[in-house]
Symmetry: C2
């Protein structure tokens, strides 16, 4: 069955034709998400590659080119391969993406991501030449990664099937959490290699730890059981205790007490391992997503075939279910009109009821799906609202991103409310605050 | 420019290509809504025809075939023509509807509407034969009208452009309000022709009056200035006072005091006139919608052409903005790599910034559109939540639709809250109430 084949315009529209069209449309959407899954997987891989490249580049820059030179080059080569895979996945879904009538947001995010990718070679050259600071290099890579994750976020927003939407919400939160972890690695490296954490660095660490934990909490609320289990094992791992110890050490050491710079390598290795493990959780979600897509696609295809067969079998009593609008000419006796055949035709009635059941079932099912979609949509909405609240605080109080997050968290704590709630209240006051 | 032409898969994806694709996608969407406008107009006309047919049919049945026989036949003929126009509008948008990846809901509603339209001829035959009651006939027509309006509601939900979404929200509330008015006509006719309003009839009148006023309030919050003006003039018209007088008369007369049955014709004529006037307001909104669509389409097309020209003119410095991922081979000196050309190339940098500005502008614009869309989406959401709350109350307390509406209104009044708020609270308690 070729579902991409556009349906012929039926001679006369009917409940059956639109019922089939509605089912076919669901199938098309699932096929789209099967391909989207591949694109997301390629983005997840590319992001991981860039995170590794960023880590190596910061060490390379921080050590004045002494450390991680060859490793970094290997990682650059790796990212380049991953970029090619990403391009290929995009090419496969290109037609669907560019003809999707509500796809302009996703395409704009892709434009933005490609703009970032376009300056990657320049960034690498600067790192090679050691002509930019560690923090500028980190910042540039982070911006690029942020834009790639934004594409996945946008894809999650367009999901219609609730089970798929939930997995995408899990995925995007996991990717965000892992990226916070990557930034924590950079922040920690800066502190340990410099021999101390100043207030800004410790506060940044605290913020990044909290931010990633919040992402993982949302993840646990939406991911499949297996992936949740993987994240829980990761959190229970030996390594986490050591990471916690280093975090404490970094943040609690006084201003003048120097840290052993050798801790830097230890820290970097530990967090890198953690990120590789997080990547495995991502892969598990990707696997679930693909499996669920394939399952839903098979279900939808069978269901469509079943409906088509059912309707064909019911199609015996000719066209009695097609809308017959009878012109009642004045003066003509109603009893003799053709429309009457319908009500006295037992088969027609039975047929009418069957089609009615199918139509009702489809409406109820779609309604239920919309309702089930709600919580996934809310999680995405919460995330957007929080980002907006942070931007608002930054511009209004002239503070930086970390500080804005802190203010928001403090507000929530003081008011005994949840973060999204406080963020919403703040955003709703935006006009007044201006 | 042929926007329906699918874009060729570019050799290498780039920020420019996706920026253009994003703009093109917006244009496609606007073209879709230009056609959708015609479909909505044809639905609005068909609904008006069916409302007139329903009115005539109830009088015909109520007078044992004495009154409105020829008028009714003329109206049936008229509806039949309107149905043909509706079919034609559907045929024009058929391909877009059936290939829209998130169109399954709209298609399911169309299936449901066609199922209703399929039994119209049987209904007419029964009216001709006077073999069903006035209330059964009213009920059948109302169900059909309800399903047609649901198609418009679903179309409103898929709007992405905020100005268009707002007009569709206005439209759907006006259609709903007018339909409540049509039901009020039937209820009033039943009371006046029967010589009295029992408690059920008066309560139903009250409910329908309140429900239509609430719809009109939402309408005034979303419609264009001209259409709002038309509705205000309609409300200030002489006729409204007379309608109010009859409403009072109907609802305040005691159980045993009979009303003059001649009032029935007077009432019917007045409300029919009112509905014809409401239809004119609908036509004004349709006009605004079409105008706005055409305007936005022209804007988007110009903007796309402008972007394409700008990008072409910037395309001189060759491929410098295309993502150049340079493989850094270990041991090779970074300074000599091709990526370096970028950072030292003034033109390339200028070019990079320009594309960046365009990409940023597109993201900001889409972001702003999403935010502006919010209030329109909320109005639709509120409407759905209220319908859900009513269904919940009906099933939970075993009461009818009118009574459920009354309970909901009383709750809102007692708590000093708005109706949507109470409805939301109720729906959120659904699981507890089960």
């Amino acid at each position: 069955m070729d579902i991409s084949k556009r349906q012929r315009n039926p001679a006369q529209p009917s409940a059956e034709a639109y019922l089939i069209a509605s089912r076919r449309c669901e199938l098309m959407n699932l096929q789209y998400f099967l391909q989207m899954g591949k694109l997301i997987q390629s983005i997840s891989n590319l992001v991981h590659g860039l995170q590794r490249e960023r880590g190596a580049s910061t060490i390379f820059l921080g050590s004045d080119g002494e450390k991680f030179g060859p490793e970094r080059n290997a990682m650059v080569a790796e990212s380049t391969c991953l970029y090619t895979v990403f391009e290929r996945a995009l090419a496969e879904i290109h037609e669907e993406l560019t003809t999707h009538p509500v796809g302009s947001h996703l395409l704009a995010h892709l434009a933005s991501a490609f703009h970032g990718l376009g300056s990657l070679s320049a960034l690498r050259t600067q790192v090679n030449a050691r002509s930019l600071s560690v923090s500028d290099a980190t910042e540039s890579y982070s911006m690029l990664i942020h834009r790639l994750i934004a594409v996945v976020f946008e894809a999650a927003e367009t999901a219609v099937d609730p089970s798929l939407a939930r997995l995408l919400v899990a995925m995007v939160h996991l990717m965000n959490g892992k990226e916070f972890c990557g930034q924590e690695r950079a922040t920690g490296s800066a502190g340990f290699s410099g021999g101390r954490f100043d207030i800004a660095l410790s506060q940044r660490m605290t913020h990044l730890v909290e931010a990633q934990e919040r992402c993982f909490e949302v993840f646990l609320g939406f991911a499949d059981e297996h992936s949740c289990g993987l994240l829980r094992s990761l959190r229970a791992h030996q390594r986490e205790k050591e990471i916690e110890r280093l975090r404490q050490l970094g943040c609690s050491v006084g201003r003048y007490k120097a840290l052993d710079p050798a801790l830097s390598d230890h820290w970097f290795a530990l967090i890198s391992e953690r990120m590789d493990e997080l990547k495995k959780v991502e892969e598990s979600v990707e696997g679930s997503f693909h499996g669920r897509c394939a399952e839903r696609f098979a279900e939808a295809r069978n269901s469509l075939a079943h409906h088509e067969a059912l309707i064909a079998s019911l199609d015996q009593p000719a066209n009695s279910a097609l809308p017959l609008l009878v012109l009642c000419e004045p003066g003509r006796n109603g009893e003799t009109q053709s429309g009457e055949a319908w009500s006295s035709d037992g088969i027609g009635q039975r047929f009418g009821r069957s089609i009615f059941d199918l139509v009702q079932e489809q409406s109820r099912r779609l309604q239920q799906m919309s309702e089930d979609l709600q919580s996934a949509k809310e999680a995405l909405e919460d995330r957007k609202t929080q980002e907006k609240a942070v931007l608002l605080l930054m511009s209004h109080r002239k503070i930086d991103n970390d500080e804005a997050h802190r203010v928001l968290r403090k507000l929530a704590m003081d008011q005994g409310k949840k973060l999204p709630e406080v963020a919403r209240a703040l955003v709703s006051m935006a006009d007044v605050l201006k």
